[in-house]
Amino acid sequence: MTTVLVLLLLLAAGTYLVAVLEAWTASGRFRLAGPVVAGIALLGREFIVPRKPDRIFFEVAPVLLLLSALLAAAVVPLTPDLIITDLATGALFINAALVYVLVALLMAGWGPNGAYAMIGGWRFLGQLIAYAMLIVMPITAVVMRAESLLTTRIVASQAGLWNIVYQPLGFMLFFVAAMALAFLPPFDLPTAKAELAGGVEAEYSGVRLAIFRLGRLALIVTLAAAAVVFYLGGWQGPWLPPWAWSAIKILAVCATMLLAGRAMPRVRDADLLHWCWILGIPLALLNIFLVGLLVLVLP
């Protein structure tokens, strides 16, 4: 029970820092109080409900987004002991929880009965068809090296050499796919500010928008934590205690994710599908093949 509370608090802290970072990458101003001000402002605004909404979807979607990020975080270890549940199928469970991001966005797109929101929601379905394989197949290669689906075992398997060196191709694919999953720029197709006026976020306001944004920030933190566990050796590192290494690595990955897309133009959905299937999936297969060879050849 205390583990759950501690991890929730840590996730909240991480989410807060990522919110500060995101504001910094967007505007160039580093304000520690920024998210608090923005949150209070959101809570103080009118809670608008559009005409003839699908009320269940409209209310459930932001909560489901937050919930799927939290569930995925439940199998991510921060130290050898600090993990909510060390499932025997942990690496698969992260995928299973993160697919519900899609369901949440579909609901958020369909629920409010607005054209821009609906286009955003369906766009994310296309985006999923592009990135889904690139999440699953690199994880397969990671699991092949660890010979286990347990996330703690995956971290332990990287004691000698981190996976980012062992399978750099897999890391690059996973990193790009994770950015697409968290709809960060340049993959922010469902919430495109310029073309869709906010897309799935367009019809949300007040506390629902606050939960939606919170869910998305928690999703970024969870994905960064997953990338750290799968590729960057988790809690391992010299001198500092395990939790500190986990925290530093997760924040570094978050910052890289947020900064990487800032300078790029938004990808077109057709191009994203094209490149993911023409280039990404063959590369992912090659990665699995190479890792298989390495696992067999190296002791």
């Binding site: 699908d54 698969l92 579909l106």
Partner: protein
Amino acid sequence: MSAQTFFIGFFGLAAVWFGVVVFRTHSMVRSALALLFSQTALGALFLSMQAEFLGVLQIMMMATEMSIMAIFMVMFMMDPGGLGEMDMTHQKRLSLAAGFVAFAAAVAAAVFVDWGPVAGVAPDAAQQTHDLGIELLGRSMLIFETAGVTILTAMIAATAVAMPAVKRIGNK
């Protein structure tokens, strides 16, 4: 009553309830997502029956599958939002009777068949995953490979069927 009994009953009820909602709602997206939650409840049911790998796999697979179902519903239905409250059914009485007879027959089979001794414990989750992997790439490899090839064939066939018959010339 053990916790396992409670959870099996609870998730089973949830799965059946969402399954009924699929055919009772007028909104097509609601219908597809009700099917999704029915399948998710089944995944949770598998988890409460200690089939961890299958449960997690079910929860993962069905989310994508049913979301794709949702977009096809919106594409092909005349009234996807369900605001017109159209009746989309036929031969209702016959179907109800058939459904009820099927249910009654299956329940009768479940109750009256002697299932023999019931096993007390299942192997733990890590052992199950290991055994399943050995099974897939050992004794059942031929079946597994056949399933894979069948999926590939189905993908090609579906694409071939769905492609427009007339070749567009000029624009790529």
